[in-house]
Symmetry: C2
Subunit: 412 residues, 2 copies
């Protein structure tokens, strides 16, 4: 198998000031595409060590991705250092220079001498130009492929997705291209998911499956390679449909749409409004719902009733229910759901009550005991759950489960 | 200056499945202590490449920290590979073996052959035993120091803090030790902070200052080295006090206490209760307050009033105020603060209303316009802010600013 490596440069990486995002992103995408990364090296902005590492990498890797150090300042040493290590001359690329002048002009910035550095690249380099954003370049050296990308994560990703991955897939696969999809799942463990996939013939040949824990969800990346993009996309649709049949409702959908957005789309499509009553989740459900732009179209509001008094006063939970069943009970959460539905005059009332811990648990109702209630025009229901984890994990699991119950309720 | 490097092993690191945490943690702590890390290498579980990298590292670094691959399974190759590269024999450490047997027994687990691997270390190694948790070991090789640590982040940090950092500080400083403190600040930019520190003589000699952006806060790590721990701690208290005098209220306190905890402590000390009314923050303030265990002692609850109707019905915001001043106005947020204070019968009512975007802004009230209101027994006040950023950033800045206003209000 073709082996490659990644070199990420920047003093902030070796002082621990910021976490590396670029190398990890590239490593994941390459791995999913069946390309092996054997090493990731993080370095400061010192040319000699970079040259040493680059030379060693050329001896053992067929592709090398280098990020950072392409900017206009003195500590951007990557281009000159690489040219020296590869024994290449540098030249000023006129097209690139014109492009930089144009970009500066468009942003109303004056020309400065140092911007000239951005147009200097090694002999034989191919400019990677995404149009309107920072450029990188690629180089062939012996039988190795080198890619130089900017260190700003957004710029790096744009170039990586547009040029680096497709060209490596094409190069190593003899003209192949790639189709990838990441799916969100909730309510199934990675091991269960692996078992499901192991039994389905569709996934056994030519499909790379990557599992990524993303608490409280599990994310799954499917990758197929081939020569015809349209065929690949059909294959991907077939794989997604097969997975949906096997795992059912635990499949939330594509990575791009978070659960709170799915819920919002469901409400909007059906012209329904929502109000939320939270106890142990403490506002997290409302917070997630309102992260979606335009949530005010369907989300009317919520209450966080941390005290019993508030549950009685605001949500009209009967005093006897609280006294006899307790604040964490099916009856209470049903009353909360109905209460908040009435309070906001909403089509749907969603309510959560539970014990997030670390204290407050009992033998009968241990920490992690959670009830979720849902009131609609068709009536009210409640379900009992027992979650495990820290206070924040129990809050997160409770909020996710409540949103997921609503999503399932909204399914046509 | 003494140069070192870090090698982190584990297939999950080079497939991008998980982010490296260990190397970054070590790099930051070392940098703060004045020790330079020149490279971080992430590798899979393949012995030959690890040996190649280790040999090269020995040629250029005085200390090398290696994490991962110390476990009992087949793919834990670090110990054997390192011994081979360093030309050292392996032996079974009897003390370590007895310790492993004792640990298994305490957890009620049966002995298995593979656990024997955990007691095998290179000749001349010193066991780093934190008591009751996973061990590591150190080695001297020529004039270099090597440290082998487990890959589980919590175990790695325990050993790093207890053994690696103190021994490197002692070794490079000729018997010195270290005192570090990380402080939270909100409402001051990194550049302003740098300017303040540049003018104060106290910080000019023998103090390392590290700046870490932690949106929406800035964190600052102070490090001093010396021979007498008591003197160092006094110096640290003096530095903290000096900083507090210079920057005033923007200093929140030590890293260990998040802002919502500071607010909670303030309320508890003064025997006050709190209720919160949120519009654009959408529940985030309540969520943060309830992340603190025991929040129910002072936090009574909150409302998320996304619609004008809810602002009128629940919080008794006058219809005329909403019609004349708008939902995002000083008058509305004052009425909301008073309304929620009355609704929950709380000592303090905190309210936020604003435009989180990306739509909903106008020339007069652009996206990012936020009002924060505070109602106490002494009356009600409101303040106007203009924040910049994405929807989530504006929510985050608004919630942080609201909590911070309350913190300042609670200051004795």
């Amino acid at each position: 198998m073709v082996q490659g490596e990644i070199i990420a440069t920047g003093t902030e990486l070796i002082t621990g000031r910021v976490a590396d995002i670029n190398a990890r992103y590239a490593a994941r995408r390459l791995h999913e595409a069946g390309l092996q990364v054997q090493a990731i090296t993080l370095l400061g902005d010192r040319a000699p060590l970079f040259q040493e590492i680059l030379t060693l990498a050329l001896g053992r890797s067929r592709f090398i991705i280098i990020t950072g150090g392409l900017g206009p300042t003195e500590d951007d040493v990557t281009v000159a250092a690489a040219a020296q290590a590869l024994n290449l001359n540098l030249f000023e690329d006129e097209v690139l220079l014109a492009r930089i002048r144009r970009c500066l002009k468009e942003r109303g910035l004056p020309w400065e001498e140092r911007y000239g550095r951005l147009a200097v690249i090694p002999q034989g380099a191919t400019v990677l130009d995404p149009g309107g954003a920072a450029c990188g370049f690629s180089l062939k050296h012996g039988d190795a492929c080198l890619f130089f990308l900017p260190g700003v994560p957004q710029e790096m990703r744009t170039l990586f997705d547009a040029f680096v991955l497709p060209s490596l897939v094409d190069w190593t696969g003899g003209g192949e291209c790639l189709c990838q999809r990441t799916l969100r799942l909730f309510g199934i463990s990675e091991m269960q998911l692996q078992e499901v996939i192991a039994t389905k013939a569709e996934f056994q040949q030519g499909v790379t499956v990557g599992y990524y824990p993303n608490f409280p969800e599990n994310h799954l990346t499917l990758t197929v390679r081939g020569r015809d993009r349209r065929v690949l996309e059909e294959t991907m649709d077939r794989l997604t449909a097969c997975l949906a049949r096997e795992v059912g409702e635990v499949l939330l959908g594509p990575e791009e749409i978070p659960l709170e957005d799915l819920v919002g789309r469901g409400l909007k499509e059906q012209g329904l409004t929502l109000a939320v009553a939270e106890s142990c989740t403490g506002g997290l459900i409302c917070h997630r719902l309102t992260n979606i732009a335009g949530a005010s179209d369907y989300f009317l509001g919520g209450v966080v009733t941390y005290s019993n008094q508030a549950k009685m006063d605001l949500l009209r939970v009967p005093k006897e229910v609280l006294a006899q069943q307790g604040a964490v009970s099916a009856q209470t959460v049903q009353a909360m759901a109905q209460g908040v539905r009435g309070l906001f005059n909403a089509a749907i009332g969603l309510a959560v009550s539970g014990i997030a811990g670390p204290t407050g648990g009992s033998l009968e109702k241990p920490v992690g005991t959670v009830y979720i209630g849902l009131a609609t025009s068709r009536g009210v229901q409640a379900r009992h759950y027992l979650f495990h984890g820290t206070r924040e994990e129990i809050k997160s699991l409770s909020a996710q489960t409540a949103l997921d119950r609503l999503r399932r309720e909204l399914k046509p």
